[in-house]
Amino acid sequence: MSKTIETLDDVVIRFAGDSGDGMQLTGTQFTNTTALVGNDLSTLPDYPAEIRAPAGTLFGVSSFQLHFSSWDILTPGDHPDVLVAMNPAALKVHLKDLKKGGLIVANIDSFDDKNLSLAGFTANPLKDESLENYQLIEVPITKLTLAALQGVGLTQKEMVRCKNFFALGLMYWLYSRPLEPTEEWIKGKFGNEPKVAEANDKALKSGYYYGENTEAFASQYQVKPAQLKPGLYRNVTGNEATALGVVAAAHKAGIPLFYASYPITPASEILHNLSGYKNYGVRTFQAEDEIAAAGVAVGAAYAGNLAVTGTSGPGAALKSETISLAIMLELPLVIVDVQRGGPSTGLPTKTEQSDLMFVTYGRHGEAPAVVIAAATPADCFSMAFEAARIAVKYMTPVYLLTDGYLGNGSEPWLVPNSKDLPEIPVHYRTDPENFNPYSRNENNSRPWALPGTPGLEHRIGGLEKANITGDVSYDPENHDFMVKLRAEKVAGIAKDIPLQEVYGEQSGDLLVLSWGGTFGAVRSTVDRIRKKGHKVSHAHLRYLNPFPRNLGDVLKNFKTIFVPEINLGQLAKLLKSEYLVPVVQFNKVRGLPLRSAELEQAIMDTLGGAK
């Protein structure tokens, strides 16, 4: 049976099912295949704080959203075109996001009374009019999978577990994707379990052929490769990119990388990734807690390593006292905060931008630290690299802010060649002549003097330091001097970071000013508005402390500054106190990326007001 193949510009697909249904894996496979096909893409995994809550419950639903296209896209999309619902709970939770008229692929085998009632349906939505506004495709995924796997030699339970591959195969067919990448992956993954490998492979193919052979779908689709910049690509999540960024920085600095951390969602993957790079000389240290991790990192920095410690909000809170020490010691240190929903444990698996004030001001005393933030999953690589560069050049702690969305989300990344990455010059002090631990170079940086270096024996500590000698000093004037010096050193880094760029007109009525993980949502929204003919510019901040030195001028060129954030207005506060400019805030704190439609509406409203 041959079907028409329609060409689409982009598709947003969301896989949803129980935590145990393998939706994250399904999504990742679809992503990898889609990347290989050459589409641009952006992903949004979303999983519950529970590991594997009882089957069928609403809170146990796990999902993976993927946006792929033939053009340059920036977000995982607000509203899916297709929802693959493996059970009633998945349908219940995600239906509200589906585009009107969108496609629902439902595994009808799971729509039994028990599951319907667990999901809080009083009637079977497949059977009444509730889905009238959508295209519903009912597929007995479980039964078909079981049928396909008879004779493979697995138990019933094991066979049922393969149903996500059936769904994956079906979607591959629907969007004309090749099976080979996943077939390869299955071979590699289940090499030791030939039966499992065979079963998954069979389920995958059965799904594919089900699409091909049945009348279920009216047509098949294709999405042409995107016109990306030429080069070698891979798909990376923000956490992978962060790990690679610090490895690359250590390499370019010619010093060993030391990563000390304590597991915490959504930062743990950085530790997982780095712990696999032992042959790159990477040392990883799973500490007893975040305080220890920070302390270990300080010790490693003292001993001359590129020391990095990663965490999320609650862990960052615990590290605060130790970072204050690192500021007094003036040692290089990168602290990665993969932000999540707060306060307290909050929404541990969701994204948020609410640690900006905390990393900027969350230390006792006058304790200035550098703060930078990544804009997209792949940008985590560049900003991790940049954090390391600044830290070792200025002998200072640098916070790198990413977030749950960036950390878990992925996009194609144009992989750089190591030789094209900037060098990071490191000069350990070796000359004992006139050595003073708190003398300064032209950047106000003190020397990095490693234990083990003959003649440089010296002591540093958390008590106030005398200028130059670094001895303990209780002298009032020296304290005033040093407090101001430390502040100046950090402020002075402004001259070493790029000027703020503005997308669109360089002056005008409205500047949308964003930072961090909202880049994609904001830029695509601004783009859409601009395409409609409105003059709206966009500036996206990656440097938060210090700000780019032209930022004040940039702001002056616009009548209205619009600041969208996934917090209650933290960048807005910083801008107001620094530049005394009023700003219009847009704050949605839902644990989710900003929604383009809402954002567009708010910008348009402001634009109306701005004129």
Partner: protein, 347 residues
Amino acid sequence: MANTNGNGEIQVKKYTAKDFASDQDVRWCPGCGDYSILAQVQRILPDLDVPKEKHVFVSGIGCSSRFPYYMDAFGIHGIHGRAPAIASGVKSANPDLTVWVATGDGDALSIGGNHFIHALRRNIGLKIMMFNNRIYGLTKGQYSPTSELGKKSKSTPFGTIDYPFNPVQLALGAEGTFVARCLDRDPKHLQQTLLRAARHEGTSFIEIYQNCNVFNDGAFLTFTEKDTKPDNVLYLEHGKPLLFGKENEKGIRLNVFTPEIVNVKEGKWSINDILVYDETSFDLAVLLATFSDRVGFPTPIGVFFNVQRKSYEQMMTEQIESVTKKRGKGDLDKLLKSGNTWVVSAN
């Protein structure tokens, strides 16, 4: 052992204690037990054949934690309780360094308790000297986790209501591989023990009873004064019978599982009945650890426990080496370009 210095030359310089004294004025109260500890450390370092620049002293906060300032070596005066963490970073980043931790009973066991037990568990190469004065010195006299029950202090005018830790027992509970106790006022024994601690692979822990003559004067007087010491202190020596008393007339005998004190000079018991100490026996170490809490029993001083166990940093190094051997030395470009990649060609 001869060492090479930074330029690859063989280091043969012989140090004296003075070489390890920094130019900083020592700021402890006159009469403080800390002075003796400082002196003994400076005295033993020349015997280690480790070049000066390879010694790193890390501390937390407290009177005792001022220690690094007085040593002409590398040092970090850290923050309260975190010395074991900072020192673990130094040691695992550069296992070639000899890393010491100077800490107090409050620093190590109160705020720093977690890092303390985890350092011991990991058996990471730190030489932990805990100055136990059973009080908070620097903050002027609050009780510490080693203060005796009922102690009146600035923060407990009616007496404490929490039981103290027995640091040796805690260290054993936390998998310590070298656990010892010393006295600030027995310099020779302190020196010997410091030397052994320095040479131990992995974490060594020495509890040092230290007199704070300002806020807890005389806490250990019965163990240090000539007339009371013999009856109250039991020196532990590997392979030697557990004897004490002015004329070594008393000994420890094990009655099945219960230790008792017997006299070896009155006929009924002889030295052959006396328990011969074995510092490699965990069970004996724990048994002896409890002595200081048993009424009527002498307080043991010396090495309670000493066994060989591969250190954390050693395993870290080996793991890196073995993975590198298996996978080859990492190439950055390979790493960056790993995973599923695809090429977009210019067209």
